[in-house]
Symmetry: C2
Subunit: 334 residues, 2 copies
């Protein structure tokens, strides 16, 4: 008989302890976590980046990843976008009563594998169980801390006129891969989520240039959302060219079929950088040598005109104002 | 018409931004959060404590608190139990589509008020919205970081034979207060949850004695769970006396009526300390001068005999082995 999560696994008693040690702590083992205190005590020197994200993606297993991989990548990437070296993650699980233990094991395995790739440790955690029907299978929160190297100061509010806007690769892969797996949809693609930890790519970028002003991963809200945030927070204008934005053939096809604009579709393994023009080319070349930046392109620039606005030159040669997403395109993509 | 949470509030687009700025960021405002980057960049000196907890309490408003107050207290207390000074919290919300905006506002207000009392700042956050029926109203994750003062080294694995076991007050108040509010129960009490931030109490304890070995807040699993953890993690025996454990009159009455053992009922504003015997009395006196420790008592001691076991001398004079909770007493009390 398949083992399932019981309410008692969240009781703080014997079953909680067994679940935690066997299924979680043993597999993520490290000296901080193994102490099983309520807090981990860590050595952090100087400036520290701190971030949090809850993951409610549906389905929890999708082409190119699962909720566990996503939960590590998303938080590693948020730390990286502050220019930080991600070091330690927390892991908090909300489980629905009846959730198969074997699925939890797969997810914990995936968390471990992704954390190893990114070079981060899961040092503290929490597990809650809610009654059947009160949550959808599993929700995961990861929070993370990292060290910001001396001299690094990056923010979505630091983009400056003249900066090149560099995008690390194709857009829309994550959102469309998820869409493809959802019930009731009549297309099948070989498309995979781009879900990936970008900390090494960011490290290489920051070693190449001291003039990286802003970094962000265009997740929910897509590339459009990220560029609008740069424009608003930095009080600058941004100009991009549609023809320079890489979109995969399948993503393009599905977007046309479904009436989506890839600019608004979520990514989980891409970044956008605003870089001083003199360093743009060398940053681009460095990015292309990393597998997660192989298709990087300069897609536009920061301008002094039309502050707070993102304007795109379309393939037809016309100009279009790019707004933030209004409404909801694809719920629960992360 | 009452405003409700829409899926689009979690889209990463315009509505997400409006909800965040108006309802959350403006009310929790501080220079770290106001930057609205994906990570906060903080200055931390020396050793840092890091913890996480997700809160799924039901009902979300209860006598003596709500899910917002609980989410701040729980994480502040977990940091405090590592001997840390809590400084910064993250706040991640999972909202069910249709959740009333006015309830969210009340909860954010409560978060702000409790954070102010505890002297911590909410510096980074995240909001997700799931379809109606896919979560129960609101789940909150708070993670926290704090500084561990020089020379402080406290862990559930450091209890030593001879240590006095000090309990900061009555047990069972939180769990029984919640029970009293749940539907279908035929009793009404004036009982309130003990939900409170304990960081000042811990600071005072640590200023009074350098010989505090272990601290923990007996939440899920109750006092029994915490003592069993001390015994297991420190590989010691623990002896307590039932007659010395303070239990409120109403909690006692409800427990008798319902067949609960208050040892297993959750607390959210209590702590248990293992303190070297020579300092026990002065720590106790100091605790009693703090409103959250006014009813503190020495309830037993750590012993070299029967390692890993907690033994209680009952009111009848017999001895009883106290085990961890088996099964689930009250789901979703935190």
């Amino acid at each position: 008989m398949e083992e399932k999560i019981l309410l008692a696994h969240g009781s703080g008693g014997k079953l909680s302890h067994e679940l935690l040690t066997k299924t979680v702590v043993n597999r993520l083992s490290n000296p901080f976590l193994d102490r099983m205190d309520d807090s981990a005590v860590l050595d952090i020197r100087g400036r520290m980046a701190f971030t949090t994200d809850s993951y409610v993606v549906s389905p929890i297993f999708f082409p190119g990843g699962d909720i566990g991989k996503l939960a590590v990548c998303g938080t590693v990437n948020d730390l990286s976008m502050a220019g930080a070296v991600p070091l330690y993650l927390s892991l908090s699980l909300i489980l629905e009563e009846g959730f198969p233990l074997s699925d939890l094991e797969k997810i914990v395995f995936s968390i471990r594998k992704t954390a190893d790739e990114a070079g981060v440790k899961i040092v503290t955690g929490d597990t809650k169980v809610v009654n059947r029907g009160m949550a959808d299978k599993i929700f995961i929160n990861t929070s993370g801390v990292g060290e910001v190297p001396e001299g690094v100061d990056i923010s979505g509010s630091y983009a400056r006129p003249g900066d090149a806007i560099i995008l690390s690769g194709t857009i829309g892969d994550h959102g469309i891969a998820l869409l493809g797996t959802r019930e009731g949809l009549e297309f099948r693609t070989s498309l995979q989520s781009d879900c990936a930890p970008l900390n090494v790519l960011v490290k290489e970028i920051l070693e190449t240039s001291k003039n990286v002003h802003a970094l962000r991963d265009p997740t929910r809200g897509g590339l459009a959302g990220t560029l609008c945030e740069f424009a608003r927070n930095s009080r600058v204008g941004i100009r991009i060219e549609e023809a320079k934005i890489p979109v995969g053939r399948e993503v393009q096809a599905v977007c046309e079929l479904m009436g989506f604009d890839p600019l608004y579709v979520a990514n989980e393994g891409k970044l956008v950088a605003a870089v001083a023009p003199k360093d743009a080319e060398k940053v681009l070349q460095k990015m292309r040598s990393n597998r997660y930046g192989a298709e990087a392109r300069i897609i536009g620039e920061v301008v002094g005109e039309h502050p707070l606005r993102v304007v795109m030159k379309t393939r037809l040669g016309t100009s279009r104002i790019v707004e933030m997403l209004m409404g909801e395109l694809l719920p629960r993509i992360c």
